[in-house]
């Protein structure tokens, strides 16, 4: 998992834990002190004056109460702020690392990693549409009509059988069942952009030539897919700042390119090309 600051709840949890422990320690110390005082009252010689009495108290009594209070308040505000920020992040739906169970335990590692199936074989619309889209079951059937991975007893693998159940395929006869009531597969969406952000896969895949892995991570190594990136606006924007627009190889940019050249500019980032403007994604 990424070690970005705001996404690690551990830090906050540890800080809170430390605070609680300190408070408990303070209370215990106070009790002990009181008991000692009681003893001392009874018999002054019985208990030697504590470390607190001897060392800390004289110092503390000289402390400026105002400064101490301000420091404590500042500390509480900082901790509260960190926690509040973290809470806010969760509220707006940043769910990096989200990895829900899917109805079919589909392994990208086997398909994209071991068998090196091209991403766009299944997610075929990524290069020409807004959506990368989950492949339809008949795409699976292109291979799995034949590839059935049977166990020793000759039963078809449970996961593959789920495809057959959905689309209506009889593994024994290798035929589609006529009049079968098909049941769609209810995949769980992992990458959820809010409706207010417009994202178009084809712009990035076909025009921007961004590798799938740039945003989705080492998908070919994932048995179970998780959300690799934060999908936050800052994350989007950083990439826009770093990547340059490939103007040479697209006639669309012809005019713009010559315009820019005449202004003495040869490299232009996505950001400079308007990739940071609100209305490019929010409308």
């Amino acid at each position: 998992m990424s070690s970005t600051f705001y996404s690690s709840s551990t830090l906050v949890a540890v800080l809170i834990l430390i605070l609680v422990l300190l408070i408990i320690a303070g209370i215990l110390y106070g009790i002990e002190n009181n008991l000692k005082n009681l003893l001392r009252d009874k018999d002054p010689g019985s208990v030697e004056s504590s470390y607190y009495q001897r060392v800390i108290k004289p110092v503390v009594s000289e402390w400026n109460p105002t400064i101490v209070t301000l420091v404590v308040i500042a500390f509480v505000v900082v901790i509260g702020g960190i926690y509040g920020f973290k809470f806010g992040m969760e509220e707006v739906g940043v769910q990096q690392g989200y990895s829900p169970d899917q109805p079919i335990n589909f392994s990208h590692k086997i398909h994209a990693g071991t068998h090196k199936i091209d991403c766009q074989y299944c997610h075929s619309t990524a290069s020409n549409s807004r959506h990368a889209s989950i492949p339809s079951a008949n795409t699976c059937m292109n291979c799995h009509a034949g590839v059935q991975k049977r166990d020793a007893d000759g039963n078809v693998s449970v996961e593959i059988q789920k495809i057959y159940d959905a689309i209506g395929f009889d593994a024994e006869t290798s035929k589609y069942i006529d009049g079968y009531e098909q049941k769609p597969i209810k995949w769980v969406r992992i990458h959820n952009l809010p409706d207010l952000a417009y994202f178009n896969h084809s712009q990035h895949v076909a025009i921007g030539k961004v590798e799938c892995q740039t945003c989705h991570g080492p998908i070919e190594e994932m048995d179970k897919v998780f959300q690799f990136a934060t999908l936050q606006m800052g994350w989007c924007v950083n990439c826009h700042r770093q990547r340059s627009v490939d103007m040479e190889n697209n006639k669309y940019y012809e005019d713009l390119h010559s315009d820019l050249k005449s202004k003495g500019k040869h490299y232009i980032s996505v950001a400079e090309n308007g990739g940071l403007e609100c209305g490019k994604c929010h409308y």
Binding site: T66, T69, L276
Partner: protein, 189 residues
Amino acid sequence: MLDKNLIVGVYDNEDNLMSTVGRLRKKGVEIFDCFTPYPVHNLDKEMGIKRSNLTVGAFICGSLGFLSGTLLQFYMMTNHLGTFKSWPMNIGGKPMDYLMLPSMMPVMFELTILFTAFGIGILFFIRSRMIHGKIAAILDPRQTQDRLLIAIEPGHLGISRDELNQILKEEGAIELRERKDGEQVVINV
């Protein structure tokens, strides 16, 4: 302060207090403090209190406020520093550089005031060791109402106790007190 030993003279009139302070100072008595229910004019001078440096603090805080107001806006809104350099923006065709200074002025001004006021407030509380919930070291419950007190540390007298008592009485103290080990002793005049 709560556990200091003090000799206390109680007055009901600021003129008497003032003359007492004057006389004692001439005698070289180091006055620990006076306690009055309202600010008595020139008492500070009479007691020889140095002019407070809080004004300097105020100036520094104000400068900080002005600076932070300026930096804040230059950082957040212009393409000279930070944000707009990496996130250029066109807002109604307005400039995004130092030329937007006019529209920065209100916030610069307000932050200067805010920092000055709160800076000096906090410095005052720090200097006076005041904070909410602090228990006041009250020598006489009427010192915040209608009694004016003068307090002298017995260890820093410079004159004899009797002479001191004498002076206080002569100057119209209506009561004399002494606090020893946290306990009040009233010596009626």
